[in-house]
C-alpha cells in the first residue's frame, strides 16, 4: 500500500479509487467511501490513523475500492469548516480536484462555482 505522507505530518486522511469506475474516494468518519474530500475523516496522530486504516482495510470496506492509502493533510483548524481537508502534497491536491490543465474535468468540474 502506497503512503504519500509528508515526513513528520501529524494529520492524515485515507483515500482510494472505486473499483468499478476508478473514481477517487475518501474514507469518511462514518465508515464509508465519499467522493468529496471535504467529507474525508482527518486523523490526528499515528494511533488514530492506524485505527481507521484497519477499518478501511477490512473486507467490509475494502472490497469496493482499490489502491487504498493514507496521505498527509493540513490541520483542519487552519481552514473553513465547510472545506477542512487540505492535502499537503501537490499530487493529492491535483488528485482531489482534477487535472490543472483541464478545469472541465475531474471533481473540480462538478464543484459549485464561486
Amino acid at each position: 500500500m502506497a503512503q504519500h505522507a509528508t515526513k513528520g505530518a501529524r494529520f492524515h486522511a485515507i483515500t482510494a479509487n472505486r473499483l468499478d469506475n476508478g473514481e477517487v474516494v475518501y474514507f469518511h468518519a462514518q465508515k464509508n467511501w465519499q467522493s468529496d474530500i471535504a467529507r474525508a475523516a482527518v486523523l490526528d496522530g499515528a494511533d488514530a490513523l492506524d485505527a481507521l486504516m484497519i477499518e478501511a482495510l477490512s473486507s467490509r470496506f475494502s472490497q469496493t475500492v482499490v489502491d487504498l492509502y493514507a496521505f498527509a493533510v493540513d490541520d483542519p483548524a487552519n481552514h473553513d469548516a465547510n472545506a477542512p481537508v487540505h492535502p499537503l502534497s501537490v499530487r493529492e491536491i491535483i488528485r482531489a480536484a482534477g487535472p490543472t490543465i483541464r478545469l472541465d474535468l475531474g471533481k473540480q468540474a462538478d464543484a459549485p462555482r464561486a
Binding site: T6, L19, D20, G22, I94, R95, I101, R102, L105
Partner: protein, 550 residues
C-alpha cells in the same frame, strides 16, 4: 495495411471474452487486486491519479479512417471526448470505467484493434518510422518486419513474464525517425554490399532513470533468421535479466553489467542453437504474405509539378509556411507526406478531441488513401496526399484546429501526461509545455530559432523522452515543490546522444525563463544556418551554463 485473418479475429475475440470474465470476477471479489493487476496490465489497463487509463495499441502507428472513427466514438461514448497519442505510437484514454472496459475492447475488436500487451512485463507495441511506405530512399517498408515481430511476440508463452517491459522499434532509412537506439531492441533495415536486405540489431538502449544508447550486437542478420536472432536476445534477457530489483530489470542494465561483447557472445550462442533447430526460420512464403499487406496503394500517375498547388502557395502565406514546415517529399511523383501537428500553441501536446479524430478520418478517407500514422513525437501523419489536394486538406485541417505549422520547431514539444494524470509523476509537465509554447508562439521567432526539440518528462521514468531532447526538462519533487531540471544536447536519431544536465533545477516560475535564456544563448552563438543541436555540439555546455547560472 495488415488485415486480420481468421486466427487474428479468433485470438482477439478470445482475449476480449477472457478479460470480460476476469473483470466480472474482480468486481465480484473472486479475484483479488494482486491477482487481477497483472491481468489488467496485459490488457493495457492502468490505475492512474484520477481514474483508470486504457492504452490501446496502434501497431507501428498505422490506423485506418474506420479505426480512427472508432477511437473517436470511444472517446465520446466511454471517455471525456478526447484521447492522447503517446510516445510509443499508441493512444490512451484517461477516464474509462473498469466495468465498461470489456465493452470498449469489444468495440475495438470489431475494427481489428486491441489493447493487448500495451502494458506489463512483456513485449510491447512495435514502433516504426511514421513515413513507412511513403518516404524517399526507404530500404523497405519497416512495417513488414514490425508486423512479423508483432505476430511472433503476441501471446508468446516464453516471453509473457519477462523481468520487465520490452520495447522494439524498426527503422528502414538512413534517417532514424523511430529512435531505435533508445529501445530495448532497435532494428535498422539496411542493404549489404551486394544489395541484399539485412537487419542490424541494437540491444540495450533505453531512457528512464539510467539512459543508455543501444549497442550494435548483430549486423545484417538475414531476414530468414531474424526471429531466431530476436528469440536469442529474448532468451538471454529472460535468463540473465534481474528479477530481484525492478529498477535494474531492463535489458539495458544487463548489457551494461556484462558488457557489449559478452552480450553479443551470449546472443550468438543462443542464435546458433535456434538456427540449428530450424523452427524459427522465417519462411519466404510467410514473409511474402506479410509483405503483400504493405504493398503500395494504387498511386495515380501524376506529374510532380502542380499549378494549382503552386498558385495556392503564392497566394496564401500561411499555407506556404505550412507546406514548408509540415510536409515532406513523397517517393511517388505528385504526392506529399503531411504532418498533422497535435501541438497547437498553448495546447496539450498529443491530445485530440473526438471531433478532430472524426474529421481527420474523413480527410484520410477522402484525400490520403485512407491511412493515418501516429508518430512517437505525438503528432499524426497523412502519408499519401496528392499535391493537387493539399490546399483543400490544409483548409480542412484549419477547420479542425489541426494545421499548426510547427513541425520540428520549438513549440513541437513532447510532453508526458505528468502529475496532472499520472500516478508515477513527481511534477506536472503539460503546463510547462503550454507556457513554453505560448512564450515562443511567434511564427517569426520560431522560424528564426529553427529546428529545436524540447521534451518534457514529469518523472525519471522519462515517458516524455527528456534525455533525448535538444532541450530536456525533467520534473522533480524538491521538498514537496515541483522543480525542473534541464538537459542539453540530446538527440534520438542516428546521431544518438543523451542530454547533459545543465546544473541546479529551476522552479515552475523560472524554468521557462531559463529555456528562453538557452535559446537566446544559442541565437547569439550560432554560425550561419546552424541548428541548436549543431551549435551545442560545437560550443558545448559552458556558455549555456554561464548564462543560466552566472
Amino acid at each position: 495495411m495488415y488485415r486480420y485473418d481468421e486466427f487474428d479475429h479468433q485470438m482477439v475475440q478470445a482475449r476480449v471474452d477472457q478479460f470480460r470474465e476476469q473483470v466480472e470476477r474482480r468486481l465480484s471479489g473472486a479475484l483479488t487486486e494482486d491477482a487481477f493487476k497483472p491481468l489488467r496490465l496485459m490488457n493495457g489497463v492502468y490505475l492512474q491519479l484520477h481514474a483508470y487509463m486504457l492504452r490501446i495499441a496502434i501497431p507501428y502507428g498505422t490506423v485506418s479512417s474506420r479505426q480512427m472513427r472508432k477511437l473517436a466514438h470511444i472517446a465520446r461514448e466511454y471517455d471525456r471526448g478526447y484521447g492522447h497519442f503517446t510516445t510509443r505510437q499508441n493512444i490512451q484514454f484517461n477516464w474509462p470505467e473498469l466495468v465498461r472496459i470489456p465493452d470498449i475492447l469489444q468495440e475495438l475488436a470489431d475494427v481489428e484493434m486491441h489493447a493487448i500487451q500495451t502494458s506489463g512485463n512483456c513485449i510491447r507495441n512495435v514502433t516504426a518510422d511514421q513515413y513507412a511506405g511513403a518516404i524517399v530512399d526507404e530500404i523497405e517498408d519497416p512495417r513488414i518486419l514490425s508486423e512479423i515481430i508483432r505476430q511472433w511476440s503476441t501471446f508468446h508463452p516464453e516471453f509473457s513474464f519477462l523481468p520487465r517491459k520490452f520495447k522494439i522499434a524498426v527503422s528502414a532509412h538512413e534517417q532514424d525517425r523511430a529512435a531505435i537506439r533508445f529501445h530495448d531492441i532497435g532494428i535498422s533495415i539496411e542493404r549489404d554490399p551486394a544489395g541484399a536486405i539485412g537487419y542490424t540489431v541494437y540491444v540495450g538502449g533505453g531512457l528512464g532513470r539510467t539512459p543508455f544508447i543501444g549497442k550494435c550486437i548483430g549486423t545484417l542478420i538475414a531476414p530468414r533468421d531474424i526471429l531466431a536472432y530476436l528469440e536469442a536476445v529474448m532468451r538471454v534477457y529472460n535468463r540473465f535479466g534481474r528479477r530481484d530489483n525492478s529498477y535494474k530489470a531492463r535489458i539495458k542494465i544487463l548489457v551494461h553489467e556484462i558488457g557489449e561483447e559478452a552480450m553479443r557472445q551470449e546472443v550468438e550462442a543462443e542464435f546458433a542453437k535456434n538456427k540449428s533447430r530450424g523452427h524459427l526460420a522465417l519462411p519466404e512464403a510467410e514473409q511474402a504474405r506479410i509483405t503483400a499487406y504493405f504493398a503500395d496503394p494504387e498511386f495515380e500517375d501524376l506529374a510532380e509539378d502542380c499549378a494549382t498547388f503552386d498558385d495556392a502557395r503564392r497566394d496564401n502565406a500561411d499555407f506556404d509556411h505550412w507546406v514548408r514546415q509540415n510536409t515532406v517529399p513523397h517517393k511517388q511523383s505528385g504526392y506529399v507526406i503531411v504532418n498533422v501537428s497535435l501541438k497547437p500553441i498553448g495546447g496539450v501536446p498529443g491530445d485530440a478531441t473526438d471531433v478532430q479524430m472524426d474529421g481527420l478520418a474523413d480527410i484520410a478517407e477522402a484525400y490520403a488513401l485512407d491511412e493515418i500514422r501516429v508518430t512517437h513525437e505525438q503528432n499524426l501523419v497523412l502519408p499519401h496526399v496528392r499535391k493537387q489536394d493539399l490546399y483543400t486538406v490544409y483548409q480542412k485541417l484549419c477547420d479542425l484546429d489541426l494545421a499548426t505549422s510547427n513541425l520540428g520547431l520549438i513549440t513541437d514539444q513532447i510532453a508526458c501526461p505528468g502529475l496532472d494524470y499520472c500516478n508515477l509523476a513527481n511534477a506536472r509537465s503539460i503546463p510547462i509545455a503550454q507556457q513554453v509554447s505560448e512564450r515562443f508562439a511567434s511564427r517569426e521567432r520560431q522560424d528564426a530559432i529553427g529546428k529545436l526539440s524540447i521534451k518534457i518528462s514529469g518523472c525519471i521514468n522519462a515517458c516524455g523522452h527528456h534525455h533525448i531532447g535538444n532541450i530536456g526538462i525533467l520534473g522533480v519533487d524538491k521538498k514537496g515543490t515541483e522543480n525542473y531540471q534541464l538537459t542539453l544536447g540530446g538527440r534520438p536519431d542516428e546521431q544518438a546522444a543523451i542530454g547533459e544536465i545543465t546544473g541546479p533545477a529551476f522552479t515552475e516560475d523560472t524554468v521557462v525563463d531559463a529555456i528562453e535564456t538557452i535559446v537566446d544563448t544559442y541565437l547569439d552563438l550560432k554560425i550561419d544556418q546552424e541548428n541548436f543541436i549543431d551549435t551545442y555540439r560545437r560550443v558545448g555546455m559552458a556558455p549555456f551554463k554561464e548564462r543560466l547560472y552566472g
